[in-house]
């Protein structure tokens, strides 16, 4: 690993929603251009950790450093795809308008020609051109996710945070996504949350198991036995046909 400033760093970070700690004493360092995956059981604190990285939550104890600064100051350089989006299904808004939000920088003003070109490029890359004018609410869960990934990429981020990018996507989209992320991770720091070890295995440098605390493992060490231990129960493996080997693991 290069000895530069980390893209993301947690020092003894704890956060609780009530009495129970969602994450406790997490120490974590993610280097620039590293791709890591957060795995762990539901409610283990993965999404909480992402929100702490973004400054959407303030830690009860410890410190989170994003790109060398405070998350609230640096988060405009981050692309984020939430796991689930609560939006008004009646709001008339189409795919392109959602992706355009990635170029939003200030309260006042309209997108420049450059902004529009960047949005178009991202939409091409994720095969969204054909549905550009469709209402966002009319899309399937997987398509919506793809649009939200496009929105995160339209930011031209230095750090990309994806909360379960494969939760609802179909095989085609997933393959496309893998391709895209492979290309991206040459230049970007990518942190993704996933239960899908097969998806992850081909992409990431490291797997971090989050279960209130965080424990880092090189990807080669992540065997079905290790996963079983993390998830605290048997997991089932599903063969993925669109790329070789691996298993699909669910807690």
């Amino acid at each position: 690993m290069p000895h530069s400033e980390p893209a993301l760093e947690c020092r003894k970070v704890s956060y609780s929603y009530g009495r129970e700690y969602a994450v406790e004493g997490v120490d974590l360092r993610i280097e620039p251009r590293e791709t890591v995956c957060l795995v762990g059981p539901n409610g283990g604190g993965k999404s909480t950790l992402l929100k702490l990285f973004l400054g959407l939550l303030e830690p009860d104890a410890g410190e989170v450093c994003l790109l060398g600064g405070r998350p609230k100051q640096m988060r405009r350089r981050v692309g984020y795809m939430p796991q689930r989006l609560d939006f008004d299904r009646k709001l008339p808004i189409n795919v392109q308008e959602v992706v355009q939000m990635g170029r939003l920088r200030r309260a006042w003003g309209w997108p420049t020609r450059e902004d529009r070109q960047k949005v178009e490029r991202v939409m091409d890359e994720l095969d969204l051109r054909e549905i550009a004018r469709q209402p966002f609410a009319s899309l399937s869960g997987g398509q919506q996710q793809r649009v939200l990934i496009a929105r995160a990429l339209a930011v031209e981020p230095e750090v990309l945070l994806l909360d379960e990018p494969t939760a609802m996507t179909d095989a085609f989209v997933e393959a496309k996504l893998v391709e895209r992320l492979r290309d991206l991770h040459q230049r970007l720091t990518v942190v993704l949350v996933s239960h899908d070890i097969a998806f992850v295995r081909h992409l990431v440098d490291r797997v971090i198991c989050v279960q209130r605390t965080a424990e880092s493992h090189p990807v080669e060490e992540v065997t079905p036995e290790v996963i079983e231990r993390w998830y605290g129960g048997p997991v089932h493996a599903v063969r993925h046909d669109h790329h070789e080997g691996g298993g699909h693991h669910h807690g």
Partner: protein, 284 residues
């Protein structure tokens, strides 16, 4: 609609009659106010906060009452009731914004307080002002309250609302769709929200004289709610809502003149019918 009423033909000749200038003013006022109503109403509807507009509208009466009282008691002739209304509306917005920041879990109580206390204060001031205008005029609107000064006032506010909504359209839309994202992108969501409520207060004051403060919220939200489904974008929804607001208020005004019904309730009934029609066609 004959008998005591007026026919359509007579309505047109009344509009041209110099002694019925107030009628012309009412029609022009409704036309001028429609763009602001369509734009602000749409945002209130998609953000599901039209109840806030209700609280602001009712709080406005305290300002109207105070202005009339001050004119009578201290001779503050400069304090126009509309100015008082705007002041009270903005004060209500300040309280709502403060409440959201420091007591978000008590927002509903704050809304009820503004709603009822604002109205009570207004009614007391009006009661203490002899020979003042009938409170009913402010509550439910009165064509005779419209003056030519209103038109300049509404025209100016229209320009302000239009400029802000067009210039801030991108962030406004992001805020309606995904407030967390807007926040992440550095959009000052709290300040924009307060600005939106301030513009709401301004639009309410615009049409106060024509439909009254009790009914104005319906004119703000019903056209927008009817426009939500057919519209393909937020901008289209705003345009369509403005159109429905204009058509509804002109049809309501015409009906009101022809039947001699009070203008405010008639306009609201027509707008309500437009809203119903939009939903019936959806069920087909």
């Amino acid at each position: 609609m004959r008998g005591e009423g007026t026919t359509m033909g007579e309505l047109f000749s009344l509009l041209g009659d110099p002694s019925f200038g107030f009628l012309r003013l009412a029609f022009i006022l409704a036309l001028l106010a429609s763009p602001a109503f369509g734009m602000i109403g749409s945002v209130l509807v998609v953000r599901r906060i039209s109840y806030l507009a209700g609280a602001i509208a009712h709080a406005v009466l305290s300002g109207v009452g105070f202005a009339l009282f001050a004119q009578y008691k201290w001779g503050w002739t400069w304090l126009d009731p509309r100015l008082g209304a705007l002041g009270a509306g903005l004060l209500a917005v300040a309280l709502l914004a403060a409440g959201r920041r420091w007591a978000a879990d008590r927002e509903d109580s704050l809304i009820s307080v503004l709603w009822s206390v604002g109205m009570a204060v207004g009614l007391l001031f009006l009661a203490a002002t002899p020979a003042s205008v009938d409170p009913m005029s402010y509550l439910f609107g009165n064509l005779l309250l419209v003056t030519s000064g209103d038109l300049w006032w509404v025209g100016l506010l229209d320009v302000v609302v239009l400029t802000l909504v067009v210039g801030g359209y991108q962030s406004l839309r992001a805020l309606c769709f995904d407030a967390t994202w807007a926040d992440l992108r550095g959009i000052p969501a709290g300040r924009l929200y307060t600005l939106l409520l301030m513009l709401t207060a301004v639009t309410i004051v615009m049409m106060m004289s024509l439909v009254g403060i009790v009914l104005v919220v319906a004119l703000l939200t019903l056209p927008a709610a009817a426009a939500e489904r057919p519209a393909k974008s937020l901008g289209q929804m705003m345009g369509l809502a403005a159109l429905l607001c204009w058509v509804g208020s002109w049809a309501g005004l015409s009906l009101s003149v022809m039947t001699d019904w009070p203008s405010g309730p008639t306009i609201i009934i027509v707008v309500g019918l437009l809203y119903l029609a939009a939903h019936v066609t959806r069920w087909r």
